[in-house]
Amino acid sequence: MPSEITSDKTKPAHAARSENMARAIRLWITAGPGLAWIILFLIVPSAILLGIGFMSNGDYGSPHLPLTLDPFKEVAGFSILGWADGNLITLLRSLVQSFIATFITVLLAYPVVFFIITRRPEIRPLLLLFVILPSWTNQVVRAYAWVELLGPRAPLSGLAQSLGLIPPNLGLMPTNFSVLIGLTYNYLPYMVVPLYAAAEKLDWSLVEAGRDLYASGPRLFWAAVFPQTLPGLLSGIILVAIPAFGDYIVPTLLGGNRVLMMGSLIASQFTETPNWPYGAALTIIMLLFTCGGLIVFRRMTKRLGGGDGAML
């Protein structure tokens, strides 16, 4: 027992100190810039936002003292004109948009991923690159490409007009349909990549075993394939659902900017219809919800995918 205690003390103190020093220097060099970046561009702005969220609205929408809870009351729908369901509707609309976009990308990603992983290993990275490549272009530029493709004078719109799907004179854009196309197109790579990572490691012997037992195709997918891709699927859902929830570039450009999404509701509080405290309060609430959602998802991923929630 005493020998255990003395073993540490037998080491010369100066050696231990210089070892500590070297470690601290290594930490400075490696972690310093990253940490500073996070503090400067995440922690500090978030703290400022948190402060603004509790301030009063000034004459021209800028934050003023005294501190108040009014911004949060406004988030709940209580404004100067009484209660309105606008925020609730905007929230629901953004959730629905996010849900549908995620659902469609999942439906599209599975066939794409299984097409790729059943090709020769040499060409798989190339095929994956084709999926990722469009996302290297700016989102706004790609949205404008769809504006051209779906506008009233585009051949596709002409076809839809002659089939009687849309009224004459009008285009496929701006409609809810064009918003969905834009979102799906935008976020498909974020679903394909994690799903591919999970599917590439697929244990095919389980599939063969299922075949030997005469399992039907759908049964085989649900029992042998789907559980193995679940970690990738959950990562993909997070990567698609969260940005699709806040996205307002696609609804603005492809949806004609007719209705507000959560993202544009917040943005306009700092510009067009200025009320900075209200905008800050909206942001805080949205961040809290997103974090809550992430925690729930992390738990689910851990339980279903055996702790492979690496994306989190």
């Binding site: 930490l27 400075w28 940490l35 009008l170 007719r258 200025p274």
Partner: protein, 359 residues
């Protein structure tokens, strides 16, 4: 935990110091004075910038914005000490003055102010020209594809009356919504410059109804709306007169007609002002005086296709800039008005109503 904090805090602080050091502006060079111009995008010709740089032996650094609200937000966030000249629209002047973001102009340094047309001197939005000098001016109106509307009325009904436009795609102005609310008010006979809650609510109901029509395609700003007219995405839109003058002078307008609705519409002035803590207010005054010179004023308007507030520039203007598209007749002028500035509770109420329309 304490050790963790100790380990993290030191490297983090060092890194912070490095980033701040990198981000700090380089020491000002005394040799070349620099004018920091904060202007709408594409609102001044390169040639005019070069001419000014030569005349003042200085450099000009331009930063762009796309809306008054964006400009005001940046000034509030510390931009009032970064820029020497900003170009706010007339209805934003009272707000910027009230928030202390502008400084008074030393008019003895702007002798060219005498060149201004009388109607642009001592305007209602800035009594005695204390804070601003006119830059360009224009009107907001309705543009439509002529062949699709053989008998179009000069009325806001092109937007709000299904009988005037049963099936052709059209848009309304977005942004802060002031123009769209004003247009709806004007159509209802409440005046484009309506500013009471009751009037706004009536306008909001009309806009909500209009949004349900199948040929309503969305909220777009003036210049993008002009581009949509050109590409055929819409057949009717709310645009600024200068946008149509630009495409008319190069023949790309897709045969659009611009009208000022008889129910009344907006006249606006974009102005030059100096932020409260401008780095070089002396140079800013020199720039303002330079723009108000007869030759510069003409060059500016010939580039922008907007009206010149400068009487001395008129002989050097392109013919379209003296046509009724840019300079409305006296009869039309009677129906033009400035947007009233909003503040405090009134602005809060307005914002609520406009947001509710969009939600």
């Amino acid at each position: 935990m304490k050790r963790l904090i100790k380990y993290i805090s030191l490297p983090a602080l060092t890194g912070l110091a490095i980033i701040v050091g990198l981000a700090a502006p380089p020491p000002a060079q005394a040799a070349t004075p620099t004018l920091y111009l904060f202007n709408w995008s594409q609102y001044i010709p390169e040639s005019l910038i070069t001419e000014f740089e030569i005349s003042c032996s200085c450099a000009v650094v331009e930063t762009d914005y796309d809306s008054n609200s964006e400009m005001a937000a940046k000034l509030k966030a510390g931009g009032d000490s970064q820029y020497d000249v900003v170009v706010p629209s007339s209805y934003y002047i009272p707000q910027l003055v009230h928030e202390g973001l502008l400084q008074k102009l030393d008019k003895s340094q702007i002798p060219n102010a005498k060149n201004l047309l009388p109607q642009f001197q001592n305007p209602a939005y800035d009594p005695n020209d204390q804070y601003s000098m006119p830059y360009q001016w224009g009107t907001t109106g309705v543009a439509y594809i002529t062949k699709k509307f053989p008998a179009a009325p000069d009325s806001w009904g092109m937007m709000f009356n299904p009988k005037d436009n049963p099936s052709q795609p059209f848009e309304l102005m977005g942004g802060s919504g002031r123009d769209t609310i004003g247009a709806a008010c004007a159509y209802l006979g409440l005046g484009f410059d309506c500013n009471t809650e009751a009037d706004w609510l009536k306008a909001a109901a009309l806009i909500k109804q209009t949004m349900k029509r199948p040929n309503f395609t969305g909220f777009v700003d003036g210049t993008p709306a002009r581009d949509q007219l050109k590409s055929g995405a819409i057949d009717v839109g709310m645009v600024f007169n200068g946008d149509i003058a630009t495409c008319e002078s190069d023949g790309s307008c897709n045969n659009a007609t611009f009208v000022l609705p008889k129910q009344g519409t907006e006249i606006w002035v974009d102005t030059m002002a100096i932020p409260a803590h401008a780095p070089d207010p002396q140079l800013a005054l020199e720039f303002i005086n330079f723009i108000l010179d007869a030759h510069s004023g003409a060059e500016l308007s010939n580039f922008n296709d907007y009206g010149s507030p400068n009487a001395a520039s008129v002989p050097q203007l392109q013919s379209i800039l003296t046509s009724t598209l840019i300079v409305p007749t006296d009869e039309q002028m009677k129906h033009l008005m400035f947007l009233p500035p909003l503040a405090g509770k009134q602005l809060a109420v307005y914002n609520q109503i406009w947001t509710a329309i969009r939600q």
